[in-house]
């Protein structure tokens, strides 16, 4: 790699690092408003969202319904806190909305819904819907001869739903090279560890067997994420692509990284300011 390329790559990583930090910070502030929230997931998936929103996706923050945008579908509605944070950072949603997160008449409800929030493409929450909707949208984009892409963020828990696999088969059948699935594997779902509730490993082999181009990376490693997203987007294979991201819940806040993992990670009232402080320290922000 040339010096210029090395510098360019380093600055790209640094830019995304800053974005990921801000996404984590926005999410923690939303959690603080409600005194609860899926901050464990948001902290875990922040790096993935930073790369998706600030490197991969084509979007116009001032016009979230721009016809030529890439469509980002959040099927895991409870991750809305993470997507709101990314949309705030991208300038689609005003940062002022954080104060109303999850409150009456807020545009940021606890579970993500299309009608409430600019940039929220679909109503998630009933898991197993997003990828199938993505198949229909990807088929529709091809009908329109559109160059736009569909991104769908799923979780490892969502792989339990049979409807997800109907969509996995269908996307390969239709050779939907304009569809990129992202699976956040944090090995945690509502009742227990995903591997204990219903083991889906080896996840990558399963998607590959269905006919997908498959990438598996450390979802908290920005350099690895950049390579995976770039490769998925540059590939000329006539297949849908999946980027499987192993993430750590609570990433970026040491006491949450090590806390007992549950679906709804516990944060006590006096811990929010500690969390924000630890996050700032982790990113060398005074």
């Amino acid at each position: 790699m040339s010096d210029a390329a090395t510098t360019s790559k380093a600055s790209a990583v640094e830019m995304l690092r800053q974005r990921a930090y801000k996404i984590r910070r926005h999410a923690l502030r939303m959690g603080e408003v409600q005194g609860q929230g899926y901050v464990g997931q948001a902290l875990g998936v922040a790096d993935v969202l930073a790369v998706a929103y600030f490197r991969a996706l084509k979007l116009d923050p001032k016009n979230p319904e721009w016809e030529e945008r890439d469509r980002f579908l959040l099927s895991i509605g409870h991750y809305a806190i993470a997507l709101y944070a990314a949309l705030i950072e991208a300038g689609v949603i005003s940062e002022d909305e954080i104060e109303d997160y999850g409150s009456d008449d807020s545009i940021l409800p606890m579970s993500g819904m299309a009608d409430y929030t600019p940039g929220m493409e679909i109503t998630g929450g009933s898991l197993g819907h997003g990828l199938g909707i993505g198949v229909g949208m990807a088929l529709g984009l091809k009908r329109k001869k559109s160059a736009s892409r569909i991104f769908n963020l799923l979780s490892d828990g969502e792989l339990n739903e049979g409807s997800t696999w109907e969509a996995v088969a269908s996307a390969a059948h239709w050779k939907l090279d304009n569809l990129i699935a992202i699976v956040d594997v944090n090995d945690q779902q509502a009742d227990d560890k995903s591997s204990t509730v219903l083991n889906y490993e080896p996840i990558a082999d399963k998607w590959a067997a269905f006919g997908w181009e498959t990438y598996r990376v450390d979802g908290n490693d920005l350099e690895a994420l950049i390579v995976a997203f770039d490769s998925a987007m540059e590939s000329s294979a006539d297949k849908p692509r999946v980027i499987i991201c192993d993430t750590l819940m609570g990433r970026g806040v040491p006491f949450l990284e090590t806390r007992d993992k549950t679906h709804f990670i516990r944060v006590d009232e006096d811990e929010w300011s500690v969390a924000l402080k630890q996050l700032d320290e982790a990113y060398d922000v005074q």
Partner: protein, 340 residues
């Protein structure tokens, strides 16, 4: 009865037409082709039942606008939602049992919650197959009536189906239509000026002795019963309520109130639980309209397999049985109590 005299199930699932009745073949498929000529946004999608929902006619005419999604009804509804999101008007087809029982969550949240423009066309509604409960959607309307934003259409015949296709294209929003397929009888031709309209109930026949309010193929039975009873001196009015939701409350209330002493029968190809009958009973009660009221519909049971004519007699929805029910209640002065 000897084995030889028994009716065969297989011969009886293709058509509900009576002997000598004029029919149209695959009215839905042909009407969709006609609508698609004018509107390039229309696409057809199915879950491995294209040939069995008359969508194959569309597939032959527009192969590049036809999407075979495989035997995956959840996916069918999700993909239909996705297509609608991209501005298309998907007509998605399956059987009523699969749409209502298997794909409910996907219709509810992926389609109805967002008012997406998906038309769900489902064959074998109510008791229109002798295959038994796996294929008989006797409770599909009950399942769907509670779903906000969803319009429910139960067409009577080929004329209704042909006209409803263009009406659905012109209507922006999700629709569930109970399809009659194959050789479908034409009965509305005799009513001059009849037009199918979403949300409108239409009085087809006037009569002072009884009123039948009906939907779907039971309107056909109601007309036949009214014809027969007229010859016996009983004057029966028939109101066709092809849209079950939203209910045309104004027309129904006006019709019922116009003859306060006339008994009201609601006839539907559906369970007596949760369908048109209960919908109208609830309307009349809420509006303080007290009339003699009776339901003609399928019992709250899993029904038998067998040949359709046998089953329609057995469960009281054949013309013969409708006539009997009316004679029993109209010709006597005995007070009729609601059956529900």
């Amino acid at each position: 009865m000897s084995a030889k005299q028994k009716l065969k199930t297989s011969a009886m699932i293709a058509s509900i037409a009576g002997e000598g009745q004029p029919t149209t073949s695959a009215p839905f498929g042909h009407a969709l082709v006609e609508a698609a000529e004018k509107n390039p946004k229309i696409v057809g999608m199915t879950a491995d039942l294209g040939k069995y929902t008359d969508l194959h006619i569309f597939a032959q005419a527009y192969p590049d606008r036809y999407y075979q999604m495989g035997m995956a009804e959840q996916l069918l509804m999700m993909a239909g939602a996705g297509m609608a999101r991209e501005g298309f008007i998907p007509f998605v087809t399956t059987y009523s049992v699969f749409a209502s029982r298997r794909a409910y969550d996907f219709i509810c949240l992926a389609i109805a919650e967002e008012k997406l423009n998906v038309k769900i066309i489902s064959a074998l509604p109510g008791l229109t197959t002798g295959y038994g409960p796996s294929h008989q959607a006797t409770e599909d309307v009950a399942i769907f009536r509670g779903m906000p934003n969803l319009t429910i259409i139960d067409p009577c015949d080929a004329v209704d189906i042909e006209q409803s296709v263009q009406a659905m294209v012109d209507f922006d929003g999700p629709v569930y239509l109970r399809l009659l397929r194959g050789k479908v009888p034409r009965v509305m031709d005799r009513f001059e000026g009849y037009r199918f309209e979403i949300g409108k109930a239409k009085r087809l026949m006037d009569g002072s002795d009884a009123l039948i309010i009906s939907s779907g193929l039971m309107t056909m039975r109601a007309i036949e019963a009214a014809d027969e009873l007229k010859e016996k001196g009983v004057d029966v009015a028939v109101m066709h309520c092809a849209t079950i939701k939203p209910l045309d409350t104004d027309a129904i209330l006006a019709e019922v109130r116009s003859h306060p002493d006339r008994p009201v029968f609601v006839a539907e190809n559906h369970s007596i639980v949760g369908g048109l009958g209960e919908s109208i009973a609830s309307l009349l009660m809420k509006e303080g309209v007290s009339v003699k009221f009776r339901q003609i519909g399928l019992p709250d049971e899993f029904l038998d397999a067998g040949a359709l004519p046998t089953l329609h007699d057995r469960y009281g929805i054949s013309t013969k049985e409708v006539v009997k029910t009316l004679e029993q209640h109209v010709s006597t002065s005995e007070e009729i109590k609601p059956t529900i």
